[in-house]
Symmetry: D2
Subunit: 305 residues, 4 copies
Amino acid sequence: MEKLLQNIINECYPYIKNGEVATYIPELAKADKNEFGICTASHGEGINGVGDYKKSFTMQSIAKTVILLRALEDKGEEGVRRLVGVEATGKPFDAFNYSDQALKSEHINPMINAGAIALCTLIDGKTYQEKFQRLLDLTRKIAGNPSLDIDEDVYLSEKATGNKNRALTYMLKAYGIINEDAEEVLDCYFRACSIKVTSVDLAKIAFVLANRGMDTLSGKQIFDKNHAKYINAVLMTCGMYDGSGEFAVTVGVPAKSGVGGGIMAVVPGRMGIGIYSPALDSKGNSCAGIKALELLSKELELSIF
Amino acid sequence: MEKLLQNIINECYPYIKNGEVATYIPELAKADKNEFGICTASHGEGINGVGDYKKSFTMQSIAKTVILLRALEDKGEEGVRRLVGVEATGKPFDAFNYSDQALKSEHINPMINAGAIALCTLIDGKTYQEKFQRLLDLTRKIAGNPSLDIDEDVYLSEKATGNKNRALTYMLKAYGIINEDAEEVLDCYFRACSIKVTSVDLAKIAFVLANRGMDTLSGKQIFDKNHAKYINAVLMTCGMYDGSGEFAVTVGVPAKSGVGGGIMAVVPGRMGIGIYSPALDSKGNSCAGIKALELLSKELELSIF
Amino acid sequence: MEKLLQNIINECYPYIKNGEVATYIPELAKADKNEFGICTASHGEGINGVGDYKKSFTMQSIAKTVILLRALEDKGEEGVRRLVGVEATGKPFDAFNYSDQALKSEHINPMINAGAIALCTLIDGKTYQEKFQRLLDLTRKIAGNPSLDIDEDVYLSEKATGNKNRALTYMLKAYGIINEDAEEVLDCYFRACSIKVTSVDLAKIAFVLANRGMDTLSGKQIFDKNHAKYINAVLMTCGMYDGSGEFAVTVGVPAKSGVGGGIMAVVPGRMGIGIYSPALDSKGNSCAGIKALELLSKELELSIF
Amino acid sequence: MEKLLQNIINECYPYIKNGEVATYIPELAKADKNEFGICTASHGEGINGVGDYKKSFTMQSIAKTVILLRALEDKGEEGVRRLVGVEATGKPFDAFNYSDQALKSEHINPMINAGAIALCTLIDGKTYQEKFQRLLDLTRKIAGNPSLDIDEDVYLSEKATGNKNRALTYMLKAYGIINEDAEEVLDCYFRACSIKVTSVDLAKIAFVLANRGMDTLSGKQIFDKNHAKYINAVLMTCGMYDGSGEFAVTVGVPAKSGVGGGIMAVVPGRMGIGIYSPALDSKGNSCAGIKALELLSKELELSIF
């Protein structure tokens, strides 16, 4: 496996030059675009990593996956669906005139910022500090890594510059989708995006999702298997931004990317994959990372279709 | 004139029942939907008012007119155009995905909330308190009414509940259209919307716009005549929300309505009109007020077309 | 007047190089982008033309003005409004999914292709040949030019390549807005767009609209004055494509442009203006033509605002 | 298996009353909304049908699946991708103004009408009669049913009333996406939609897709396994109209519905399912059919996530 992964890194390395590191958050712009690591977790083969697979980076949008899981565990499928829809085809939303149509739950989904922000309000906990702690604890538990924590600099950088997310949050409030204090909800969301992981952590989280909530090491069911199916389905249809259809055709497994350069891919019943390569294409997905998954899918017949 | 106005009020009174007072701000919901007043200011005829023309109400969106004027006077046409466009046909703007197209100045105009909020940043003044004071002073001067002031309850109500405007402001910041502190800019905008006027005040402001900035009483030019043309043109194409085209056909003069129930209409070279009737149609325009302007326009041949 | 017009042509000539002749219809691409003519018709001054003001070109979208007039005269304001709306802000229309919202009359206006095509069905006449003849006769009458006719090559070129208009027509049929044979309706529309005029013809048509339907030479009312107001109002809010707001601010009179390079401008009560200069900007408006109207408006204080 | 299917029909029968048969084509309106049949094809269990599973109906949008397959087989993945994109999130397309953005291949996908119509042009064949024959032959081959043919009445009904599809086809021509004669392309598409099948046929087609192109009876590979993966991926992300996300979560397998009342579901590696129940929900999907798939998925753990 390690040999295969190394070959893939070698073959995909040139794709790095097609992308650029994210710059919309000052801290993210500091990433080294030449870093590239892959890690897999699978039955029989265990954990295999090559390249910069021990390098840490922030989860960014990949955190939407654990936010969704935390909300599902705390409020159930019905509770989550009532607040946030699941369609990728939500109509654009024109916020600029008095007579505009309302923003509704069915216009958002858990993998877009507005949806993930809304889901933060569903996490159990008296305070937002407590809510975030429960989210972090869950992430640590699935990753099997109690030392996971946030990158304070990235968190503060996002908090300082996250005006688009601020705008979305006030829009959610304006249409009564959420009622909580905007800055508190955002703080939880910004912290979640700033959780620092390695490709190993992502591979392990993905592997638990691939096994429908079961930790194969301990044999324990960490979370409801239906919640794993829910999450994998949502990742399939809208996990890779506007490139989700292309990804379904060329790779064929549920996955989530983040602008920090990570991709987490779930091969149901077989494997979890974590990739790090921070040079992004115009849709916000890691260039070399997507190519690597394409080759890996062909080589190992990973497509679920 | 007063007899004509009284006939019009009588004829249009039944249209009140087609509308409802605005409820999105708790304070506005307290308005009495049966109130109805008209006032005109014209050459020769002077000031004529009937019905509840002395009743005061908040300007709401009508304040966009003076915000635009204040910005034009402080930064000139070029300065204003650089920040805020003038087309009614701005494309809807989808703020929910990473890869969205940017929000640009050409997508907004001075008569939509986002445009008016952006224009507040162009007002001269070291602090937002000073900026607002200069806006209020200008309003008092054009209305010839030094006692104009804000309705504190409406202001606080808007400030507490104005999440859509808050969302728009952060969107403007997210796309670099404005860079100032969102809450300070919004405070200026909310105060402007809360300025309390009567139909007389609106008629007088409109009359100065009709005379291209000249105060006919004193014979003094209060502001640049080109700024009056700029404002009247913008009112014509987008002053009446999504009903601007209909209004151009049926009434045919520049006008601006507010959800407080007021309409201010400018008959270039001839007349200023102020109307108050807080029962609104689905587009946010006063039902009886629009009908009254239609009749008045037919009766006095006011259409500029 | 002729001296003023000549000065304006001289000053605006350099703007030609900012634009390109329309190429979407092969025949239009044959236009000479260096041609530039202006003609005015006004009280006292009569007809004044300079430059290529005797050069003929096809009306293209300017024909929408006479289509609207013909429909108004045949079916009245109510009949026209029932079929075609008057707002510039019609929402985009997504035609690609089963569950799409319907296309409604309020989404179109007489100055966009779909609206003008729909209006062709309102013209009286047993056959479409007869309908078009009545449209042509009306155009000849207002222009005072019985020799007006279509440019057969442009007509055939549009008919052969007009697939976007064909698409719009079938969309109108799909949503029950029109029920007639698509190709017959389109034939009428393509013929209308192909009517050949000079700047003199446009100036004269505009002058009748400026005088609310009265032919000042004969003193005869050619059409209902309310229909002139209706048309002028529609031209003001959506006559210049997505540049209507800008045009209202900088020029301030109702006008209609065509991709053939013509602009027809109506100065209510004072003047009709016809311009020809086929180099178009990205919005489809004549570059030098718009600049010329801007200067003329400043020089003669033409703005109605 | 048959007992399970019968239980499911019994349990889902009440959902029929939530929907209505399609009425936009007169012939479809003649369907009996109380009919309900299910058929499965699976390894070991063979073919099992209950209810009205022998009842025939037209494929409608389900034919998009075989159109896509025919195009893939004739032109390969690259040829298909060049013409028609794969994202569900294509932006709405505003066709009503001169300056509109162009329609591009990336705005369409094989499961929306515009995409499927475009794909008809990729089928090999000198004439459209030949192209359609090759499409029909392929459908017969995968279904293992040489007697499949079109429903002449439905075909003529669609041809006579299909103005929305006509509009889409001319739009594709207007933007140079296709260059062929619109009526010929449409004729091929309308014929494809009118192919008459039973739930058995759909189950068998789906079973071949589930086995990645292999006919398990004969052991022959009927088509390229990569094309099966391509199709299944596209069905997953956009096969169920605007309900694709919901369907992924609740059922979790690739599927395609048609307004004729059919649903074809592919369980990779395991099973093909054909359902018929013509009462549709507001998104155009069979009400009872979707509910039946939900129960079947739970009962047999069919979700691929």
